[in-house]
């Protein structure tokens, strides 16, 4: 079975929020829209987003890491949000593993959001139905789009290409290779939810310079060996 998913490379994510708003603009006018905003031009503006970028600080000065952390629905292999839904509005597609909500069936009980440890679902405050990342299901299955465009909006937007998209069940896919080779991990593995989305950890490049490498025989200073003799006395003049 195919399991589509995102693999997010924290090693290159600079926290620019491109994925956040490109998601919003695609989906608000798409199959999963609208993504309603509340108080759009007033105090405490808030709205439905399928994807957020958060920031964490790790360690203490000066050994601090700043981590930008994009988070959306992880499309779990064992999605705990699905069985708790009393109406069947939440479901996992059999053909590609994407977890979706059928708004027409959703009664807005929010129970699925309680059953998601990741906070991936957001109730639309105006429409009162639960909304969440669809992996841009209406892009990735739209045969009228070019193959290049048949990807989630966030993936196409990401300037750092920090978001990979593909079938994590196919061992030869780009995402599976990245997970395998780069130590891709799942969030909150303690719950056994088997998130399909994975994260690639930071990697550090370091440079070691052996002290002996510092100077080479062709050191240009050797070409400036200026010890001009201007007539002063030397040992050569006085020792015998």
């Amino acid at each position: 079975m195919t399991q589509l998913a995102l693999v997010i490379d924290l090693n290159v994510c600079v926290g620019c929020h491109a994925c956040v708003t490109s998601c919003k603009e695609w989906n608000t006018s798409g199959w999963a829209g609208p993504l309603v905003d509340q108080n759009p031009y007033e105090g405490s503006p808030t709205g439905t987003f399928f994807n957020r970028v958060q920031t964490f600080e790790i360690g203490t000065f000066p050994n601090t890491e700043t981590l930008h952390f994009p988070k959306s629905c992880l499309h779990c292999e064992e999605p705990p949000c699905v069985p708790v839904c009393p109406t069947g509005a939440s479901y996992k597609r059999a053909d590609n593993g994407v977890v979706l909500v059928d708004y027409d069936k959703c009664i807005g009980c929010k129970y699925c959001s309680w059953a998601c440890p990741y906070g991936a679902r957001e109730l639309d405050a105006q429409q009162q139905v639960m909304k969440k990342c669809t992996l841009c299901i209406d892009r990735i299955t739209d045969a009228k789009l070019s193959e290049r465009d048949r990807k989630p909006s966030c993936v196409l937007a990401c300037p750092a290409s920090a978001r990979l998209f593909g079938d994590v069940h196919d061992p030869d896919s780009e995402v599976s290779i990245a997970i395998r080779e780069r130590g891709g991990y799942q969030l909150m593995p303690e719950w056994g939810t088997q998130p399909s989305n994975h994260y690639l950890p930071r990697q550090k490049m370091r440079l070691h310079i052996d002290p002996e490498e510092l100077t080479r025989v062709d050191n240009p200073l050797r070409r400036e060996d200026l010890t001009d003799y201007t007539g002063e006395e030397t040992l050569d003049d006085v020792a015998w």
Partner: protein, 965 residues
Amino acid sequence: MQDPASHSDSLVGRVEVKETTCYMCACRCGIRVHLRDGEVRYIDGNPKHPLNKGVICAKGSSGIMKQYSPGRLTQPLRRKANAERGESAFEVISWDDAFKLLEERLAKLRAEDPKKFALFTGRDQMQALTGLFAKQYGTPNYAAHGGFCSVNMAAGLIYTIGGSFWEFGGPDLERAKLFVMIGTAEDHHSNPLKIAISEFKRRGGRFISINPVRTGYSAIADEWVPIKPGTDGALILAITREILDKGLFDRDFLVRYTNAAELVIDDPSRDDHGLFYRAEMHVEPDCFDPQNKLWWDRDIDGPISTHTPGVDPRLMGSYVLPDGTPVKPSFQLLKERLEQYTPEWAAPITGIPAETIRRLAHEMGVTARDQKIELPIKWTDCWDDEHESVTGNPVAFHAMRGLAAHSNGFQTIRALGVLMTVLGTIDRPGGFRHKAPYPRPIPPCPKPPHGPEAVQPNTPLDGMPLGWPSKPEDLFVDEAGEPLRLDKAFSWEYPLSVHGLMHNVITNAWRGDPYPIDTLLLFMANMAWNSTMNTVEVRKMLVDKHPNGEYKIPFLVVCDTFASETVAFADLVLPDTSYLERHDVLSMLDRPISEFDGPVDSVRIPVLPPKGECKPFQEVLVELGSRLKLPAFTNADGSRKYRNYPDFIVNYETSPGSGIGFLAGWRGKSGDQFLKGEPNPHQWEMYAQNNCVYHHELPRSYQYMRNWNKGYLHWARAHGMVRYAEPITLHLYSEVLQRFRLAAQGKRPGRRPPERLRQRVETYFDPLPFYYEPLESRFTDTQRYPLNALTQRPMAMYHSWDSQNAWLRQIHSHNYLFLSPKVGLANGFDDGDWVWVESPHGKVRCMCRFSEAVEPGTVWTWNAIGKGAGAWGLAPNADEARKGFLLNHIISEELPAHDAGEHLSNSDPVTGQAAWFDVRVRVYKAEAGEPAVTAPQFKPMPRLPGQDQPRGKWQAYVAGVFGKK
């Protein structure tokens, strides 16, 4: 719900896809705008665009909310006759009336004294047109926002290597092995840099970020080196010293391509001390950096013409020429200068341990030396030597406002240029690469006017409104050496202020110093808010009156797309269009989007009709220019020359028959020429058919070493990009600066600085880079104000532009002051508390957030999130006004009066770059009873005529139905 797999967006409504260029920031990515039933459905990156290659950022993706924002202006407005300025009491007027009003006023001023009209723009990317308008009008009082942005970065590097970062050049991350980023958080060149950094990291490159704060790009650096603000110069000089000390410099590169080996007269008693010794030989006429200089030949142990074949000159030592002149190679002078700058010296200044400074130097030097790149590209240099390959040292740098926005920024950036040069990384693979039309001569040819006679009634300005002085005679001063421009640019106060000093315009105009003006036209510059220093006082100046009741700045015209804070102060408001509603050019005459591999320019083409009565500012200028009968806009018979802006763009030539116009692509009658060629009536269509971009890829042999690449330089001259095909020798040692210093010392015939400025010019016009403490610190009790305060631009917000954007403002609706927990501990407040940030110039109240990602002597916040109540189409209770704050309130636009002058700008003494980041502050807890809102607060700005009704509690955007609801 319908099964999404059977849903296709293309079947919903009437679909159109149009290409244009983004303008959610200054990056200028190619975009595809997808329309559904005439409304914007989706904006994505254009995969065929060389700049962004299909990606798009948070701002670009939110263009929809800019287009449909209720903050938009839609009607020309005039301040009501009985209303006070600043109250936002406007009445709608027609464009015709607005034009008549302007025409009458500006014609009168032009006939009397053109300099009473001042035009300043926040936007750099149409300088070619706005500058042309100002020049044609005859006023010198014109500049864009570069002076308060990053002019130090432009000037510091262009005066050193003939190019700079961002639009002028950048790091070649495709081939670099080590990338050092200094003082950059986010960037104008944002998507290309994000693309490049991530690819660089994936290839295994090492990325070091030197910054007081770890955010944005620094977050993914392999190493973060926290530094105290304003001390980058000390670090760079210490690194350079270590590189010289260990012999890690690229000797061959220095000898051949820089002035390192050239002999400088070294006799302080002589008037020509510090100038290059000029030998008698043929020089190209008009060339201001001729090659008639000498090396010291090690074999004959005597002087010899530079670049004499087979000669290996000395880089060090001191010599006496046959005529008795004592000389030293400039490299020797650099070495002597650097002696004092040991890592141990720099450590307490920068807060970086000496061993770290040494290690950084070794990493740079060893990587440059041991990981040399060699590309099999044959090329010929200016001295006719043929090279079998292009080589490079893979150490790349990038720097921006962190270095630039200090009063020592010019010399710091000179130091960076010198470091990049000694590492041998200029226009070579893996290092710094130029972008056309750079490299340009050091300095480039255009010069400002030279004296008062350049300004004459009903006459275009004699000289360029902005230029590149190379000697005191290029300054724009009167007999007494005093300023002639309103912003005092190109005066002895800031001689190399190549982008002007927009940050002092309002204060100077208000004070009438150097003279009062009549009409100030501001385009897209929020000078009553985030684009100004000393905001509270500047807002008062805008409404201040003479005793006779007249405003001190008599007439203020503001052109903007949105109801910004500045609009409230206008006497006449001109509604600009959004970027989706206009023609625009990103021109080779201005700041194009060239790539390393060759010139690129691009256009915007409207995808939507203008909202309401909005009119592009370009159209306003073409119309005004025609009505005022400015020569460039008028036929010989006095009739109007251009129908409109698109017509102007196609047909304008820099001079009749020059073949050089705004757009470089598809020139010539049939569109078969580029860069130079006759106007092509179908040029716009050709851009439209080609992703709105023209990209000329140079032959590989012209892509590198362009400062000295004979083929390239001749090609560039043939295509009108440079005047000379002479080599552009790198200025390790700046003779240009020495000329100004000699003038200050009275050792030079001709212009001298006024007495009070002599020491200032002598000090800061040092031909070799040096470190000095930022000026503001000298006038501040740094015990009382121990902290440096900075701002950074968040990646999802372009200055003040995006608070009106319903999606972007949700990410940053208000801001906090970030500081080390140590500061809180020392001052008795906790994370999240309300605090006062106080500088010697004022104080603001805000909320604080503890952070471990900031150097403990620094506090910082996101720039321009705070807004004036009611501005930008936001409700007065918006977070931006209640919880957001501006640091601008506590930054002064002027230094305290001192011996060099009473009203000197708080700027770099060389370039006039606004020293935003010099401000010193202290932070303390707000009292328990104080209101939980930021201070200062301002009277709410009402909704203006023509602005949309408030949207209410909900906004559910769905393209195709949004406008119909």
